[in-house]
Assembly symmetry: C2
């Protein structure tokens, strides 16, 4: 296939060996790149029953098909692996220069297998790769690791590194890609278990493209569209935090106080008529030093948050984005934006996922509130909702797996409740992954999407909140977010589309710019192949089913497509979504619809016929169901 190098770098850490292989044409045609290619490589490489933290787990890394081509916002690189947080298949995506450099170095993907005995780094330079000792980097935080790499290897390397959390096998550990995170599902722990501290890539070649002139034309065209698009101004001005007021005050679906509330009640009460501190309308003018972009993005949503004075002076972090405003703000009820920024920086440096980290601490806060945890269980820290000092102390111990706090909380809320032997009823996770910043009690389609997401509680797998909250979006008229009727196809379509975005490497914040219709011409220019919109969507569907098949192989089924007890039993108490919850029966109705839309059995297993018709005949044999009823 044109527009790709056709090369896979295979790294066997057990043997300390690297090898370059040809990628089979079929895989490229059916999976294209990015999440698709990474998913296929990971599925094939990881045996059934693999310990996520054992040498038998593998991590596949693949830049999106369009990443680095100059098509605006095509910036993403996907990691695929078995998650230590959930036990499921996991995709973790970052706006990573690493992926751009990989392509320039001549590789479409990297597959990391086995485990090293001592810390190593993988160094890739223009078609060559080697493993080097990285004992001197071990223990460093992410920023210090990058600095040490520059010092040791010189300038010009793009990197992926893990922080202390990954080294300590925290199941919520991230992979840091030059300050952008492949955040969810514990990819950092998988690399930590393999003792792979860092990946360094330098590439000076051209990224292959079937029709370079056409790509340039299209880049120009779409840059103009983006320049004139109303969302661009918002992204560049305030970033994703702009969702906050909408979700919080307008919809009443910004979960706070560990989902005891559907909006950040105490902050609004304090703010009165003014903006609450977490709102970027308040903080961006004050603290945002400049925009921070993913590679090739012309509408950067990142904000470099710099605190020069006061208690948190010296804090410098790319963020906080909307999700983080929830997880490190609303959920633990921390109303001070400076404290949220500090917490964000702490998570990034130690290398833990801000969503999982904040929600896990909020769980602990509620456990304290209920008397399930005492200060003596938490290294003497008196952890309470809204206490920013205690919050920051706990976060730091979690990231370092220090003391009783680290022992209890470093692996997320599900593990914490298991260790404590109670509190599962207010642990806000699905399949072990902590929920992001949408109170799904008030958005039934989003609840379904979270329940079925292959990696657990995830807003990015379907991205269906746009349809549920957005009035009208793409071809959908205003969807009734309080209704459970007909949500199956709605969620399926969004999942397939978002999977396709991750295949192509295009930012999901651009889904309301390229939609589906904008994609075929991009793929045609890049590959020289004519894919219709429907055919491209089928690629997304194929990848999605591959991920589900992995989970089915590991024993995941309908019973695991659950919702947290709180979501099903405790209605949102006040605000615009007051009274909303998702009952068990409502969930079952939506699951039936969804499985029907997906071509899966009532047990949630892809039908053999569906897998065969997605060109996955081996999977049909391995995990497919023949039973329609």
């Amino acid at each position: 296939m044109k527009g790709v190098a056709g090369k896979l770098l295979v790294v066997d850490l057990s043997k300390q060996a690297v090898e370059t292989r040809e990628l089979p044409g079929d895989s490229l045609r059916l999976f294209l790149g990015g999440f698709g290619l990474a998913a296929k490589l990971a599925y094939d490489a990881i045996p059934k029953g693999a310990d996520p933290l054992g040498p038998e787990n593998s991590v596949a890394i693949a830049p999106g098909l369009l990443t680095g081509t100059g098509i605006p916002t095509a910036s993403k690189t996907a990691l695929a692996f078995r998650s230590p947080l959930t036990g499921t298949f996991c995709r973790s995506v970052a706006g990573a220069w690493l992926g751009v450099a990989l392509r320039k170095a001549g590789y479409d993907a990297v597959l990391i297998t086995g485990a090293s005995e001592k810390p190593v780094a993988l160094v890739v330079e223009d078609g060559k790769a080697r493993l080097v000792d990285a004992s001197d980097l071990w223990g460093l935080d992410t920023r210090a690791t990058r600095a040490a790499i520059r010092e040791k290897f010189g300038e010009g390397f793009r990197t992926a590194v893990i922080g202390p959390a990954g080294e300590k096998l925290s199941r919520i550990a991230i992979v840091d890609c030059d300050g952008r995170q492949a955040g969810r599902g514990g990819g950092g722990a998988v690399l930590g278990a393999k003792k792979l501290k860092a990946i360094l890539v330098k590439g000076t070649g051209d990224i292959p493209t079937a029709d370079p002139e056409r790509i340039k034309e299209l880049a120009k065209k779409w840059n103009e569209v983006i320049r004139d698009h109303p969302a661009t101004k918002a992204d560049m001005g305030y970033g994703s935090g702009e969702f906050l007021d909408w979700m919080n005050r307008e919809s009443g679906t910004f979960p706070s106080r560990n989902w005891q509330w559907g909006f950040f009640k105490s902050a609004y009460e304090r703010a009165g008529e003014g903006k609450i501190e977490l709102d970027p309308y308040y903080w961006a003018p004050k603290y945002s030093a400049r925009n921070v972009a993913c590679p090739g993005c012309t509408k950067p949503c990142g904000k470099l948050f710099v605190i020069k004075e006061g208690k948190y002076a010296g804090t410098e972090v790319d963020g906080p984005e909307y999700e983080t405003l929830y997880s490190l703000g609303g959920c633990p009820e921390v109303a001070s934006i400076e404290a949220v920024a500090k917490a964000n920086e702490l998570c990034d440096l130690l290398g833990i996922d801000t969503i999982s980290a904040g929600v896990t601490v909020a769980w602990a806060m509620e456990a304290v509130e209920r008397g399930f945890l005492k200060p003596e269980d938490l290294d003497g820290i008196d952890l309470k909702f809204g206490d920013e000092d205690a919050f920051l102390k706990v976060l730091e111990r979690m990231g370092k797996r220090e003391g009783k706090v680290g022992e209890l909380l470093s692996d997320g809320s599900k593990a914490a409740a298991e260790r404590l032997g109670k509190g599962e009823e207010f642990a806000i996770h699905i399949k072990g992954m902590e929920l992001p910043a949408y109170d799904i009690r008030g958005a039934k389609g989003v609840a379904l999407a979270f329940a079925v997401s292959f990696r657990g509680g995830c807003h990015l797998t379907a991205g269906v909140y746009g349809a549920e909250f957005g009035g009208s979006w793409w071809k959908f008229e205003a969807v009734d977010r309080h209704s459970v009727v007909n949500k199956g196809f709605e969620v399926k379509l969004h999942e397939d589309l978002m999977a396709l975005y991750d295949v192509l490497g295009i930012c999901k914040f651009s889904r309301h710019i390229f939609f589906l219709e904008g994609l075929p011409e991009l793929v045609a220019a890049q590959t020289g192949l004519s894919f219709s919109a429907g055919e491209l969507l089928t690629v997304g569907e194929r990848v999605y089913n591959l991920a589900r098949a992995f989970n089915v192989r590991e024993g995941f089924t309908r019973d695991h497509d659950h919702l947290p007890k709180r979501v099903m039993e405790d209605p949102i108490p006040e605000g615009p979504s007051a009274g909303d919850r998702v009952s068990y029966e409502e969930l079952q109705v939506m699951l039936d619809d969804y499985y029907e839309a997906r071509g899966w059995s009532r047990a949630g297993v892809p039908l053999k016929a569906k897998l065969v018709s997605l060109d996955l005949p081996e999977l049909a044999e391995e995990v497919g169901s023949g039973k329609v009823g």
Copy 2:
């Protein structure tokens, strides 16, 4: 696109003009050929609200993509038009030499528009076409028409002709293709209204093929598969009539006595332990002179039925096939196979659809039984279930639209009940099309498929009876035919697959030989393009949605996806499926599932997002729904 000529013959009968046009590459890529191409041409050509029997209706004719290439059983040619029987979009398919000749003459499709004032014939010879007077053919039956054509134009023409029924605008009139019928939906009436008596085609060129050597290899390979396949022996020995014993005695789902019974009770009572006369195990050895094949078929299911002695001496008919054993046998309770063969011949010669014709007469028989009709309403004929003489008399009058019988019955059962002003409650049709030979009360998935089929009561749109009755079929384990659970995706998948078979021109009786997996290599050899199985299935889905969009444009919606009252209210009284019916509530459950699987609204309207993702953006704007709930 390679493997096609790229030429469309446009015939404007109002202007008496013919013209050759280039087919747009996009249409070929997205619709390939056969039903796909015909559907696209018809959709674009027929304006909203067109009178099916007016000049504004069009008939598009297209041979399947593989028809005539030598791939075994790839023999079909599709017609698409607005049906005068149902008012819906209609596909009508025949194993037609006409299509093979069209391709050899350099055309991929013919579009017939307008209407002639006097009878004409279209004559196509190797890239040239003309309209000629056909007044001398008008009034002739189909066999006589073919003979007159040979006489007048010489040997070597492949034909499509209409009989007296088509001329008289019978809404159940067929198009006869050299003795094989495009049977359902009244295509013969549409041609009759256009006064197009016949189409004659002679082609001496080669059928374009991207890779002729590869096609030869594949033809050889698949011929060997077919030769060794157990179904082949059955097809060649007894034809589709072999289903009869299975459906009748084993399943109790062979409707008889106008669906008062789920099996042919009286015949079995008479036969005792022996075979009933309708069973080909009984009649084939006695009456089958030889097998009759569609073009390129190496497992011919057709049987030339010849009666040399007795009351029906001189009868010579290609048939009866399974459906006809029901419609001209079980449904009117005619137990004599000689009478059924005679009735079959009558239908073929006059040019009416055997299914619609027999079921309509059975309706009249029940109307007589209930006292709604008297002999004086039927030209003095004393019409009773099981009376073969009266049956044949009525059939003949229907086919000729003669007398009171013709006036009442020639347009099918729905029109008959409307004209009589009563009897709709036992009229066995959906959307006006009479039901085929599967008692859907005992096969819920088939019931759903019939209810939603775009052309009304049709077994070929989904062909899902294989899954419901077949124990295991393809990737489906034994489906519970008595259950309504999870039938949506099952039906959708079969519809998409069967649409694809009609696009490629492969016989649906080969679906258990090629399945889906066998198709990509055939398409690749023919077109030089690499379509995956999933992409091919998307072509089928695209075509299916186009047909639905046509219906939606004409006001068809969920309310029209109904079942006959008898199916919903009168359980099968005896036999293996005794007690089975499909309640109104069960139908609603299945419709919800089905629409979800299809990506349609609860009203049965394709969602805009679905149509866009099937590369039908104009249809999304024209008829698509934005409402998910």
